[in-house]
């Protein structure tokens, strides 16, 4: 495993041993998985436009060829927010559509960080936009919570042309020299360290590395992505960068642009195709990295589907209670996933969180889903 300066600083600051930096130490039993990527293909995507229309998703089909397709995943239609959150908690989360609240259950991020004593930089969530999706990063369970939450970046929120333009109106962002960063850190520590503290909490150091990452990313190419579905594309593009830089133990990606389907079926299909292309790019990033290639497991699943019939706007809502709405297809691939297999048995979308925890040997004590043993090798 490569240890760059950032990781070195992180480890020295955290006072953690080598185990904290070596995901291999987390593998459960004889599992090979050291990294997991979960793509919530949210926004409401029917199987009819995925596995029943392979031309729409050539990359997902390519990925599935080496792994598993589950065409019979039961999804609860509790609104986009609640349904997508359910993927990360392993529970059916009933939330209002615009509700800005956090789950009472721990999320995958919290289970893994607490169970494996991971620093924040080992657990990430890349989302399409901010607001509600920021709440996926941690819940409010008293034994878990923010201190075990994920680093979250909503790509379109930060890396967009308007933001870059405003930032540039103040001048090109400068990345501080190590010496300057050190001076600032010493003074900042004098304020942040509370009486009796011997060292800063790990998250404070983690934030500083994220600060550096953002400064570098602002000048990157993600900003230039435009067009329909660009927000989802940016989320997947940033996810690739996070994988490359931080090599996190767990990386979640939450999309949502497919919901354009309410008003336009054609745009909906276009977004599915674009997302498929970006997922392919993410997959290739993993394949091209020797460390990630053989130690990463990947899941892709919608939070729910859509109605059977078109609405009066030639779009697709999500409220008819049909099979098309409540049954979706999941794709899985990786070191500990069975190869070239279709698992037809009925499973639930809330089973995913316990399964991922299981891969790392962590107990998801508050999740109601079950481990998908039929998917795992």
């Amino acid at each position: 495993m490569r240890c760059d300066r950032r990781q070195f600083l992180l480890s020295s600051g955290l006072g953690l041993g080598a185990a904290a930096l070596c995901p291999s130490a987390f593998a459960a039993g004889n599992r090979k998985t050291k990294h997991v990527v979960l793509v919530a293909l949210a926004g409401g995507v029917r199987s009819k436009e995925t596995i029943e229309s392979p031309d729409n998703i050539p990359n997902l089909m390519r990925i599935a060829g080496g792994g598993v397709v589950c065409p019979n995943v039961k999804a609860e239609n509790v609104g986009h927010y609640g349904a997508a959150l359910s993927l990360f908690t392993g529970n059916v989360e009933v939330f209002g559509i615009r509700e800005y609240g956090r789950s009472e259950n721990p999320t995958l991020f919290e289970y893994l960080r607490k169970g494996l004593a991971l620093p924040a930089n080992s657990v990430w969530l890349s989302t399409t936009n901010g607001n509600q999706q920021t709440n996926f990063s941690y819940g409010v369970h008293p034994k878990y919570g923010q201190r075990f939450g994920a680093n979250l970046i909503s790509a379109d929120g930060v890396f967009n042309a308007e933001f870059k333009q405003i930032v540039n109106s103040f001048g090109t962002p400068k990345i501080p020299s190590e010496q300057e960063a050190d001076v600032v850190a010493r003074m900042r520590d004098a304020i942040d360290l509370r009486p009796g503290d011997k060292a800063l909490p790990a998250d404070a150091l983690s934030q500083r590395s994220v600060e550096q990452f953002i400064l570098e990313e602002i000048g990157g190419k993600t900003v230039s992505l435009t067009g329909p579905g660009a927000s989802d594309a940016k989320a997947l593009r940033v996810a690739s960068n996070i994988l490359r830089v931080f090599k996190p133990t767990f990386l979640g990606v939450a999309l949502q642009e497919a919901d354009v389907a309410h008003n336009s079926f054609n745009s909906y299909v276009e977004i599915i195709r674009r997302n498929d292309a970006e997922i392919g790019r993410l997959y290739d990033t993993i394949q091209q990295d020797p460390e990630l290639r053989d130690s990463t497991t990947m899941f892709v699943v919608p939070e729910f589907g859509r109605d059977r019939d078109l609405n009066e706007r030639n779009g697709l809502d999500h409220g008819d209670g049909s099979t098309e709405l409540n049954r979706v297809a999941m794709f899985a691939w990786g070191a500990d996933v069975r190869a070239n297999k279709t698992v037809k048995e009925s499973i639930a979308s809330i089973d995913l969180a316990p399964t991922i925890c299981h891969l790392f040997g962590v107990k998801s004590e508050h999740a109601h889903g079950k481990v998908l043993r039929s998917v795992l090798a």
Binding site: V78, G79, G96, I97, R98, Y100, L125, N129, G130, N131, Q132, T134, N135, S137, Y138, Q146, G149, A150, N151, L152, I153, S154, A155, D156, G157, V158, N160, E162, F163, Q165, I166, V167, F170, G171, P173, K174, P176, Q179, E180, V183, V184, R186, M187, R188, A190, I191, D192, A204, Q207, R208, V210, E211, F213, I214, L215, I218, H262, N311, D317, G319
Partner: protein, 894 residues
């Protein structure tokens, strides 16, 4: 008995009843129907209160019906007390029959025909003076040569240099003669030279220049007789701010906005209107800095982003249809104020190039003629105000109202086209009207027309265009019942420079290049301020404030506790920290007074609106963009809208609809967000709501409706809305749940009148719960952080674009602190932040100043030592101190 009820009025009016042929009138007893009240006050009442109204007798129940008001400790009986005593005494009097009046018989000794009296030791005989006085009064004898009574009013507490209005209105001349007033200063603090203006009036103006106690005496006379002197004590406390009073300047009109003077202890000088009223765009003011303290002058400059391109226009008599509108060097500035339900247009902002016109008593009157048509520009600083134009136009004349002026000179147009006798809507561009819609008016049957137009002033200027051959009167109205209207931060004036001269010596002359600047110290004495405006590109001078020099320099300092409280209150009410000058202004200002100043202001509602949009829409790309919605904060501030109606507008807006497409989503979100209902638990309600949304007749909450807006209206009328709304507002402010019982009370008040919202917020700010909340550190929202980093670093608020884009970015992270640090770094590195060089820098003092600036407190010893040690590194620059503070955990809170 009717008379005593009007006692205070009847006494001075009595003279009118008795003729003017005698300066000291004697009224024949036969003309009287009741005993003389003046005689009573002067002669009888002293007898009664000193003999009868003593403890245990006629000053408390138990002594029959004759219960009298006692004098105060100075021996005086108040006017009201005298009236009451007279009313009581008359119950025991038979006019003109002393020996039948129990008031006389009870204290008369029995041997002289008196009655039983338990207080017999106070009894008198027929030969006594007391008998004579009572008998004469009952017989109707009047007193002549009665001097007036001076009343200098109650004691007064005020601030140094604050204008105090004395009150001698309580003085009385009881025979109806005119009173002359004479005030004098009896005592004053050593070295003080107070100002007493209009000392011969009932309400003179007083202004003290030093802390301490002043005694003033009032003597009144009626031309013949003088009163005894009455005194009033005025106690003045120190004031950090010089109150710039309108009447001290050459033009009273320019200072219509000495706003919140009572609340703030004094500010401010808004110079814009005076500038606009002068063609040369130069305004000069004279003011006097009081003795005893030096002051610093601060200028606050508004953002230039909203400057309006000035226009002038003219009408060619020869070609009535050819009206030219073109950008010009002039510009206008005015404010719209209100005086309650009537609504008035206050201040003058009318600029006429020909014709006649003026704003008088809040009403705009224009007169034109074929030779001299009324041509001019009217501008409104407030973003919105309604205007009703009523007028009579002669045949062929037109009346157009242009609004929504754009930078390219185009505008919306509405009005009456006299040539075509039609009402028109359209656009005004390049000096021509393009009609987009019209309707026959049919008004010209008799050769003239009555025209009425209702126009909403938009963000930008509004103009009246008057053609020839008309005499028109335009009346402006504002629907508000509030006496406050937005003093818009979006101004149209621009100021290039100002200078202050002391006598013949120029003190300073500066061109604005930032938002706030202290120009140096002004000594006591007379000064002249000159403000010159030359370009619309220059920033707009918002107000000028004089701050006591020792506070401005930090020598007197702002106590840390006060600094923190002020900072927290600003964050909570307007979502940003105070500017430096606002922090100074808050010295000596109670939190309640500060809340009074901020709550209900335009900025308060802008902050509220942003929070509400975030709550209802979450995503900025669904932000409402119609002029009406953009003007919503201003409409709230000027009282033409209340928060419940504003909520309704948000929810029925196209933006909300786009954000929540489809019946299921829309109805669910409305029920969840406005009433706190979990729709999964209320399937029937959800279905009925969806049906109503779709245009079918349905019933929800017992009310029938058949549209989306019906549904929203019905939901808003539910009692639960008030509770949900107020709970959210309370929690946003106090950061804890509201007490249940009090919430119910608040909700009832809110249901009865939603305008009570601002009063509730003020009450919350004054509550112990808020006091407790202010003590601790509370996390800044992303909204607050953005505004705080701009205000703290750049001394200005962010533009809307800056705010929106930074907010969107910060919301993109679960923990926005890393990006917050990035933003702070970008700004510090921008070169826009004033930073000292390291050479010769007093590091400890600089560190302490920055701690107060950003964290609202002084550094502790360890922090001071660490910063000093780190800064001893040759590579360490002062800007790194700012970066450390801005990225610290503590700066994430307030």
């Amino acid at each position: 008995m009717r008379f005593p009820l009007a006692f205070a009025v009847a006494l001075p009016c009595l003279g009118a009843l008795i003729g003017d042929d005698d300066a000291r009138p004697a009224v024949a007893p036969a003309e009287r129907t009741e005993p003389d009240p003046v005689y009573f006050e002067e002669r009888v009442q002293p007898l009664l209160v000193n003999s009868c109204a003593i403890t245990g007798c006629h000053d408390q129940p138990g002594a029959g019906r004759l219960i009298l008001e006692r004098p105060d400790f100075t021996g005086r009986v108040s006017v009201a007390g005298t009236a009451k005593n007279l009313e009581t005494a008359l119950q025991f009097v038979t006019f003109k029959a002393p020996m039948e009046s129990r008031l006389l018989l009870k204290p008369l000794v029995k041997r002289d025909g008196g009655l039983d009296h338990s207080g017999h030791h106070y009894d008198f005989t027929k030969k006594s003076e007391k008998f004579r006085l009572l008998s004469e009064w009952i017989d109707g004898v009047e007193l002549h040569d009665v001097p007036p009574i001076a009343d200098a009013g109650p004691a007064i507490s005020a601030k140094v240099a604050q204008r105090v209005e004395l009150d001698g209105d309580g003085s009385r001349e009881r025979r109806g003669l005119p009173l002359n007033y004479s005030w004098s200063i009896v005592s004053r603090p050593d070295g003080s030279v107070p100002l007493l203006k209009a000392a011969d009036s009932a309400r003179p103006e007083f202004r003290g220049d030093k802390e301490g106690s002043y005694t003033l005496a009032l003597v009144v006379d009626n031309g013949t007789l003088s009163s005894e002197a009455d005194t009033v004590t005025i106690t003045l406390d120190a004031l950090p701010i010089v109150l710039l009073d309108a009447e001290r300047f050459r033009s009273a009109d320019a200072f219509h906005s000495v706003r919140d003077a009572a609340a703030s202890g004094g500010l401010a000088l808004d110079v814009g209107q005076e500038i606009s009223a002068r063609t040369e765009a130069v305004a000069t003011y004279e003011f006097v800095v009081p003795e005893g303290a030096a002051y610093r002058l601060f200028a606050r400059v508004a953002s230039r982003s909203s400057a309006v391109m000035p226009l002038t226009f003219s009408i060619d008599d020869a070609e009535p249809d050819a009206i030219e509108v073109a950008p010009g060097p002039g510009y206008q500035l005015m404010q719209v104020g209100g005086d309650g339900e009537q609504g008035r247009l206050e201040g003058a902002a009318l600029s006429l190039s020909s014709g006649d016109g003026a704003i008088r008593d809040g009403r705009l009157v224009l007169r034109g003629s074929p030779k001299s048509p009324a041509v001019g520009v009217l501008d409104v600083r407030a973003r919105t105000a309604s205007m009703r134009v009523l007028g009579r136009v002669d045949q062929g004349a037109s009346l157009l109202v242009l609004s929504g002026l754009e930078q390219d000179g185009s505008a919306r147009a509405a009005g009456y086209d006299g040539v075509g006798d039609r009402f028109v809507l359209g656009t005004w561009s390049q000096g021509a009207l393009t009609v987009t819609a019209h309707e026959p008016a049919g008004l010209l049957a008799d050769g003239a027309a009555e025209v009425a137009a209702q126009v909403e002033f938009a963000e930008r200027s509004t103009f009246l265009v008057l053609g020839p051959e008309r005499v028109l009167k335009a009346e402006f109205e504002r629907a508000s019942t509030s006496d406050r209207i937005a003093i818009a931060t979006d101004g149209v004036a621009s100021v290039e420079a100002y200078r202050v001269a002391q006598g013949a010596t120029e003190l300073a002359a500066k061109t604005f290049d930032r938002d706030e600047r202290a120009l140096g110290q002004l000594a006591a004495g007379a000064h002249t301020l000159t403000v010159r405006a030359t370009s619309v590109d220059a920033p707009r001078l918002d107000e000028m404030v004089l701050v006591r020099a020792d506070i401005a320099s930090g020598a007197a300092g702002v106590p840390d506790a006060k600094r923190k409280e002020t900072r927290a209150t600003y964050f909570d009410l307007v979502g940003r920290p105070p500017l430096a000058v606002e922090q100074m202004l808050a010295v000596g200002l109670e939190r309640e007074a500060l809340a009074q100043r901020l709550v209900g202001s335009l900025e308060f509602y802008e902050h509220w609106y942003e929070d509400e949009l975030f709550f209802y829409l979450l995503l900025d790309n669904f932000r409402p963009r119609t002029p009406q919605m953009q003007a919503l904060p201003a409409r709230l501030a000027n009282g033409s809208l209340d928060v419940r109606a504003a909520t309704q507008e948000i929810v029925i807006s196209q933006a909300f609809n786009l954000r929540n497409p489809g019946n299921d989503t829309f109805v669910s979100v409305v029920l969840e967000q406005m009433l706190g209902i979990v729709v999964q638990d209320e399937p029937k309600l959800l279905e009925a709501g969806k049906k109503m949304y779709d245009g079918y007749v349905a019933t929800v909450f017992g009310q029938q409706g058949k549209s989306q807006s019906d549904f929203v209206r019905i939901v808003l009328e539910q009692p639960a809305f008030s509770r949900v709304f107020l709970t959210r507002a309370y929690e946003r402010l106090v950061r804890s749940a509201p007490p249940k019982a009090e919430l119910e009370t608040w909700a009832k008040r809110f249901e009865a009148d939603p305008r009570v919202f601002t009063q509730l917020v003020r009450e919350w700010v004054s509550s112990p719960a808020y006091s407790q909340a202010v003590l601790g550190l509370r996390p800044k929202t992303d909204h607050m952080f953005i505004r705080s980093v701009f205000v703290d670093l750049l001394g200005r608020k962010p533009t809307f674009e800056e705010f929106r884009n930074f907010r969107t970015a910060l919301q993109a992270l679960a923990d926005s602190r890393p990006l917050r640090a990035v933003l702070a770094r970008v700004m510090v590195d921008s070169g826009q932040v004033a930073l000292p060089g390291k050479a010769g820098l007093d590091v400890s003092a600089f560190v302490a100043e920055q701690f107060r600036r950003f964290l609202g407190r002084a550094p502790d010893a360890q922090e001071t030592a660490t910063f000093a040690q780190v800064m001893s590194d040759p590579q360490a620059e002062p800007k790194l101190i700012l970066l450390a503070l801005l990225s610290s955990q503590e700066y994430q809170s307030y």
